[in-house]
Amino acid sequence: MCLAVPMQVKRVEGHDAVVEQAGAALNIRTDLLDEVAAGDYVLVHAGYAIQRVDEDEARETLALLRMFGIDTQTGQTTDATG
C-alpha cells in the first residue's frame, strides 16, 4: 500500500490540486510538496502529491502499473482473485 502513482497536475488552488489520470480527474492535496504547478508530473499517494517526477518516468511507471493490474487512479490491485 506504499505505492505511489504518477499523475499530471492540471490545476492548482492553494493546497488543492486537480490531477488527471487515465482520463479521470482527481482532487489531491499538495501540502507535502513546495511549489506545485499545472503541467507538473507528481507521484500521488493516498490523495497527496509526495514527489515530482519527470514525464518519461511517469509514462514508464504507468505502463508498468497497468501491466501489474494496478488501478492507476487508486493504486489498488484490480485483478485480485479473492
Binding site: M1, C2, L3, A4, D31, D34, G47, A80
Partner: protein, 364 residues
Amino acid sequence: MRLVDEFRDAEAVAGLREAIARRLSRPAKIMEVCGTHTMAIARAGVRQLLPPTVSLISGPGCPVCVTAQGEIDAFLALGECPGVVLASFGDMLRVPGSTGSLETLKARGTETRVVYSPMDAVRLAAASPEKEVVFFGIGFETTVPTVAAALLEACRLGLRNFSVLSAHKRVPPALAALATDPELAVDGFLLPGHVSVILGLEPYRFLAEQHQIPCAIAGFEVTDILEGILHLVTQIADGRAALANQYPRVVRPEGNPTARALMERVFTPTDAVWRGIGPIAASGLALRPEFAPWDARQKFALDWDRFANVPEPPACRCGDILKGIASPHDCPLFGRGCTPARPIGPCMVSSEGTCAAYYRYQIG
C-alpha cells in the same frame, strides 16, 4: 517466465540475470523489504530468474500485514462508541481482528467508511458534525505525512469530531531488529522505493555502516529489481557493505524534507508491536501531546495496554513469514483453510501480503 516475455527489455533482463549468476559463488539470502516488491517479484516471476545461490525472502513490508492484532481490535472496539464512524483505507477492510473485521462490523450495523485519502476522512467529519469520525492511521513513512497533513488541516478547520488512531510504523527500526536477528542472518536488503521517496538515504546508512549489511534501494520494474539484486550480490561477493540507490529517478538523496517536517510536527516515535516480530523500540508513531484532542487513544480513553498483548490466530504463520524464516507453504492452512476469499491472517488479506502473492501467482 511467461510474463517476462512481455517486457520490451527482455535482453536487459537476460544480461542482468547472467551477471547476477556469475557474481556469486556462495549462497546469499536477500530480503525484499517492500510489499510492492513482493507483489512485483511474484507477478513477474523474478525468483525463477535468479540462480539457486540467491534466495529471495519477503520481509515485513506490507503495512496491513504488520499491524498488530491488538491495534485492529482497538480500532474495531471504537465502533461501539455512539456516533462513531470508522474510516479506514480499503486495505484494512477484511483483515480479521479477534472477533471480526471492519467488514463484518459493518454488516452488524457499525458505521464504516472506506477512504482513498485521510483528507477524505477530514472532509467527512466537516460534512457530518453530528458524527465522530475516527481514522485508522496505518502505514509506513510513505503514508504518515499524508495523515499528518490531514490532521493539521482538521486542526486548522477547528474540527473537533475528527481523530486518528495511530498504528503507524517506522521502517528503519524494524530493519535494525531484523539486521541483528541471528535466526534470520540476512545477507542483503532490497529497500523500498516509495518509503525512500520520503526518507531519502540517511536513515538506512547504519545498516551498511554499523551492521555491515549491503543495501540497495530499487524501483519496481523487473530490470530495477534485478539491478538492485546485482548491486547486492556484487557487494556480497566483494565482502563490502554499502548503500546503493538504484532508483535515483524518484528517490532523491535528501528524500522529501517538507513531508518529513510535517510528520515530525504531528508524530513522535514510540514503542510498537509488529505482528510476528513483536515489540520494537521506537518503531511506532504516537501523536504529540499538543494534538491530544485529535488522538483517538486519548479522546476515547482507550486502555491501550489491554490491546498490547492480544494473541495472533494460533495456526497462522504470518509472523514467521514476515520475518522471512517460513514460506507460505510451511503453513498448514495455506490454500486450504486460508484463501484470499476467506483469509485467516493478514498476509492473505492484503494483495501485497506474501501469502496472497504466492496464492495468486501459484508460486511453488
